[in-house]
C-alpha cells in the first residue's frame, strides 16, 4: 500500500500561550507566534521571552515546533537590537524566525547563526528563481505568495528543494501582501509595520472624472466597489497540496479565538493524516467541511490555487447564509462516577441548550443540558459569568481539553 513519507506539517497560529497549547493539542505540528518587536500583528497578543520559554517547553514535550514572525518592513532605526532579539529566540529554542525584510534577514543570518530563517508571505514569492535566490542567501523555507497556483507549485518543486510553506486556510490580503500601502495613505497606519487598517474591505465609490470635480459614478444596483476577499479553505484539495510538494500547511489567524484554532487544526490534522496513511483510498469527509463552517467568518474559496479569482471570490452583495456557532467553554475534567463534565464557561449557556463537545482526534458528542451546578454544587439554570466553573451531566464521556460550542438560534 502506498503511503506518503514526507507528510507535510500543519502550522497553526497562536496569539497567546493558551492558544499555542490548544493548537498543539488539536494536532498542529508547529505554531507561529509574535514576539514583542518586529512582528506584523501589533494587536495579536504577543509573547514575552518568558512566555516563549513556556511555549517552547510545552512544544518540546509534544514534539512540536514554534516559529516567531518578525515580518515587518523596517524603516530607518527600526532594526536596532534585532541581532540580540534573534539570538535570544535561538537560545530560547525557537525553531525558526519568519522574516520578510532583507535587512532583518541579513541580521538574522549574520548575527544569530544557527537560527533557521523562513521568508514571509509578505515578500510575495511567486517563482522558482526567487526561491533559489533565497535559498542561496541562506533561508531554509519560503512561505509562498497567496497568488501562486497548484500547477505553479508543481513547477517550482521541479526547480528547487527549498522548503515550501503555503496558506491553506483563513483570511487573505486582496493584493500582493507587502505590496499594499493603502493603510499608510488612507489611514496613516503603516501596513508593513503592523498597522494595517484593512482599508481594502471598505466600501468605495468607483467613478470616472472627465472634467475636474465632475464625477460620473459607476456604482450599480446599490452595490459599492470593494476589495474584500472571501477566506481561503483548501480542505477539499489536500491531495493536490501534498502531491505538489508543499512541506508546511499554514493556517492564518493569530488574532483568532481558541474555538477557531482548535477546530481548524483538528480538521486539517484528520485530512492530512488520512490522506498520507492511504492516499489511493482517500475520501474527503463531509463532516470536515461542515466543521470548518462552524467557525467560518466569511464564505470560503480556493483563492489562486486553481486560477485567477473571480467576483465569487470577493465579498459582494448580501452575505450568504452560514451556521453560527458560539464557543461555550472548555472541559477541565470528567467525573467518571457521576458522568459529569467539569466546564470552564466562555459564553453564556444553560439548561435546555443543545451543546456539542469536540476534542482532539476529531471526537464529537451532542448533549442536551438537562441540569447544571456551580463548583459548590449549587443548582444553576444559566452559567452567565465569564470563566465560571460549572458541572453538566453527559451521556458520552469527555476529556479535559475538549471544547464545547452551541449553535446560535
Amino acid at each position: 500500500m502506498r503511503t506518503i513519507k514526507n507528510k507535510p506539517e500543519i502550522l497553526a497560529p497562536a496569539g497567546t500561550l493558551e492558544k499555542l497549547k490548544v493548537a498543539i493539542n488539536y494536532g498542529a505540528d508547529a505554531v507561529y507566534i509574535g514576539g514583542e518587536a518586529y512582528g506584523l500583528r501589533s494587536r495579536a497578543g504577543n509573547f514575552s521571552f518568558d512566555q516563549m520559554k513556556q511555549g517552547v517547553a510545552y512544544a518540546n514535550a509534544h514534539h512540536a515546533k514554534i516559529y516567531v514572525a518578525a515580518n515587518i518592513v523596517a524603516h530607518e532605526g527600526d532594526v536596532a537590537g534585532a541581532g540580540a532579539f534573534f539570538r535570544k529566540l535561538r537560545d530560547i529554542g525557537i525553531s525558526a524566525v519568519i522574516v520578510s525584510d532583507p535587512s532583518l534577514i541579513e541580521i538574522a543570518i549574520t548575527q544569530a547563526p544557527g537560527l533557521p530563517v523562513h521568508l514571509s508571505t509578505q515578500a510575495s514569492t511567486t517563482n522558482y528563481a526567487a526561491l533559489n535566490f533565497w535559498q542561496q542567501v541562506g533561508l531554509e523555507r519560503v512561505v509562498l505568495a497567496r497568488e501562486v497556483g497548484i500547477a505553479e507549485i508543481k513547477e517550482m518543486r521541479r526547480h528547487t528543494n527549498v522548503q515550501l510553506e503555503a496558506f491553506i486556510h483563513g483570511a487573505m490580503c486582496i493584493g500582493y501582501s507587502g505590496r499594499c500601502v493603502l493603510s499608510n495613505h488612507l489611514s496613516l497606519r503603516d501596513a508593513n509595520r503592523g498597522g494595517c487598517a484593512q482599508n481594502c474591505r471598505w466600501k468605495y465609490d468607483l467613478f470616472e472624472m472627465p472634467h475636474p470635480g465632475v464625477k460620473q459614478s459607476q456604482l450599480k444596483n446599490g452595490e459599492a466597489f470593494s476589495m474584500s476577499a472571501v477566506d481561503l479553505a483548501m480542505i477539499q484539495h489536500i491531495p493536490d497540496l501534498v502531491e505538489a510538494g508543499v512541506n508546511s500547511f499554514k493556517i492564518e489567524g493569530r488574532m483568532k479565538s481558541i474555538h477557531y484554532v482548535s477546530t481548524v487544526a483538528n480538521v486539517y490534522r484528520q485530512a492530512v493524516d488520512s490522506y498520507c496513511a492511504d492516499p489511493d483510498h482517500y475520501v474527503l469527509k463531509p463532516e470536515w467541511v461542515d466543521e470548518l463552517w462552524k467557525v467560518a467568518q466569511r464564505e470560503m474559496s480556493t483563492g489562486f490555487y486553481y486560477g485567477t479569482p473571480t467576483a465569487d471570490d470577493e465579498l459582494f452583495g448580501k452575505r450568504r447564509k452560514r451556521p453560527h456557532y458560539s464557543f461555550v467553554g472548555e472541559v477541565l475534567g470528567y467525573d467518571e462516577q457521576r458522568h459529569l463534565a467539569i466546564i470552564q464557561q466562555r459564553n453564556n449557556f444553560g439548561v435546555g441548550d443543545q451543546i456539542e463537545f469536540y476534542g482532539p482526534h476529531f471526537t464529537h458528542s451532542q448533549q442536551k443540558v438537562t441540569r447544571l451546578w456551580d463548583r459548590d454544587n449549587d443548582i444553576l439554570y444559566r452559567a452567565p459569568d465569564a470563566m465560571m466553573i460549572c458541572k453538566v451531566p453527559v451521556t458520552h464521556p469527555v476529556k479535559a481539553g475538549d471544547m464545547i460550542r452551541k449553535q446560535r438560534v
Binding site: 517563482n127 508593513n192 470616472e208 459607476q218
Partner: protein, 307 residues
C-alpha cells in the same frame, strides 16, 4: 551629478525629453515591467536605446514585474536581448530576476526596486551586496527619515520627485470582478478609461485604479511634486530624481521635465531660490492633467504621525 530620470511614452516624446534635459530615459514593456506609460515592443525599444545613446544619455529598462514562473521562463532571453542592446541599467523588483541575472553572468547593471518595500538603507545595502548598482526609495519615507538614511547608503538611491505613486497591486482583476458582479459587462478597466475610487465619507478623494496584465493597480490620491524640495535632496546627496509620466499627457510631461531641468541647472549654478522653486512649481501645476492633484506625499509628514 544630478540625474533626471524620465519615463517614456513614445519615440517622439523621448526626443523631446532629451531636448528638455532628461539624463536617463526609463521604459519597458508590460510583460516584464510595471505601470509604464507605454509598452515598448523589443524593436521599438531598440530604436529608443539607439536614440538615447546617440544623444550621450542613458537608458534604464523596467524588468521589475512580480514574476510568476511563466514570465521567469521568458525573462532570461529578454535579459540577453537587453544586454546586447547595451542598455545602461535594468530595473528589477523580483529576487528571481537577480538570480537569473547572476546565473547568466550578463554584463547588465541592475537597480533594485520593490517599490513600497524599499524603506531603509540597510535593506538597500543588502541589495548592493547582491550586486545592485542602485535602488529606488519607497515613496512612504518622510524627509526626516531620508536625513538618517542617506549617509548610510552604499549605492545611489533614486527618489521619485514627480508623478503617480502606486499604493496597491493585486493579482486579481478587482474592477472587472466588480463589473461582473453588478452585471456591467464589457466595461473597460484599463488605464485610459480613467477610473478613480474615493474613500467612504471622503467624496473629494480620487485614487486612480486600473487593470493590466500585471493585475490591478491603485494610486495615491495626488501625484507627487517635490520640485520645491530639490535643494534638500541635493544636500543629502540624493541626486537621482525620477519623474513618472504615467498619467501625464505626452507634451505636458515634457514641459514638466523641463521645469525640473531648470531647477537642476539653478542648483548646480547656485541660482536656486525659494522664489524660483515656487515659480517652477506653478509651471508643473500648469502642465499637470486637470483632473489630477499634486502634493508632496509623505515627504513632509513627521515619522511619528504614522502608526
Amino acid at each position: 551629478m544630478i540625474n533626471l530620470i524620465a519615463t517614456a511614452a513614445s519615440y517622439q516624446q523621448v526626443k523631446a525629453l532629451l531636448a528638455a534635459g532628461a539624463d536617463t530615459i526609463y521604459l519597458g514593456e508590460d510583460q516584464f515591467g510595471l505601470r509604464l506609460p507605454h509598452s515598448f515592443k523589443p524593436e521599438a525599444l531598440a530604436q529608443v536605446v539607439k536614440l538615447v545613446h546617440r544623444a550621450g544619455k542613458k537608458v534604464t529598462v523596467a524588468v521589475n514585474a512580480l514574476m510568476h514562473n511563466d514570465r521567469i521562463n521568458l525573462v532570461g532571453d529578454y535579459l540577453k536581448f537587453l544586454s546586447k542592446l547595451k542598455v545602461d541599467h535594468i530595473m528589477v523588483g523580483d529576487p528571481g530576476v537577480v538570480y537569473i541575472l547572476h546565473q547568466l553572468k550578463l554584463p547588465l547593471a541592475y537597480i533594485y526596486d520593490s517599490e513600497v518595500l524599499m524603506t531603509s538603507a540597510r535593506q538597500i545595502n543588502f541589495w548592493a551586496q547582491q550586486g545592485a548598482s542602485g535602488a529606488v526609495l519607497a515613496r512612504e519615507i518622510p524627509y526626516a527619515e531620508l536625513v538618517q538614511l542617506a549617509p548610510e547608503l552604499r549605492i545611489p538611491a533614486e527618489v521619485q520627485v514627480y508623478g503617480a505613486t502606486c499604493i496597491h497591486q493585486s493579482g486579481r482583476p478587482l474592477v472587472h470582478n466588480y463589473f461582473d458582479f453588478v452585471k456591467q459587462h464589457q466595461n473597460r478597466s484599463d488605464r485610459k478609461r480613467g477610473l478613480f475610487i474615493s474613500a467612504p465619507h471622503k467624496p473629494q478623494t480620487h485614487y486612480s485604479i486600473y487593470e493590466d496584465i500585471n493585475g490591478t493597480h491603485i494610486f495615491a490620491n495626488n501625484d507627487l511634486n517635490l520640485i520645491t524640495k530639490l535643494a534638500q535632496l541635493q544636500a543629502l546627496g540624493l541626486n537621482d530624481w525620477k519623474l513618472d509620466g504615467l498619467f501625464a499627457d505626452e507634451a505636458g510631461f515634457v514641459k514638466i521635465v523641463s521645469q525640473f531641468a531648470q531647477a537642476k541647472k539653478a542648483l548646480l549654478t547656485d541660482q536656486w531660490s525659494s522664489e524660483l522653486a515656487a515659480t517652477l512649481s506653478e509651471q508643473v501645476n500648469a502642465h499637470q492633467p486637470a483632473n489630477r492633484g499634486l502634493d508632496t506625499g509623505f515627504y513632509t509628514i513627521e515619522p511619528s504621525e504614522v502608526r
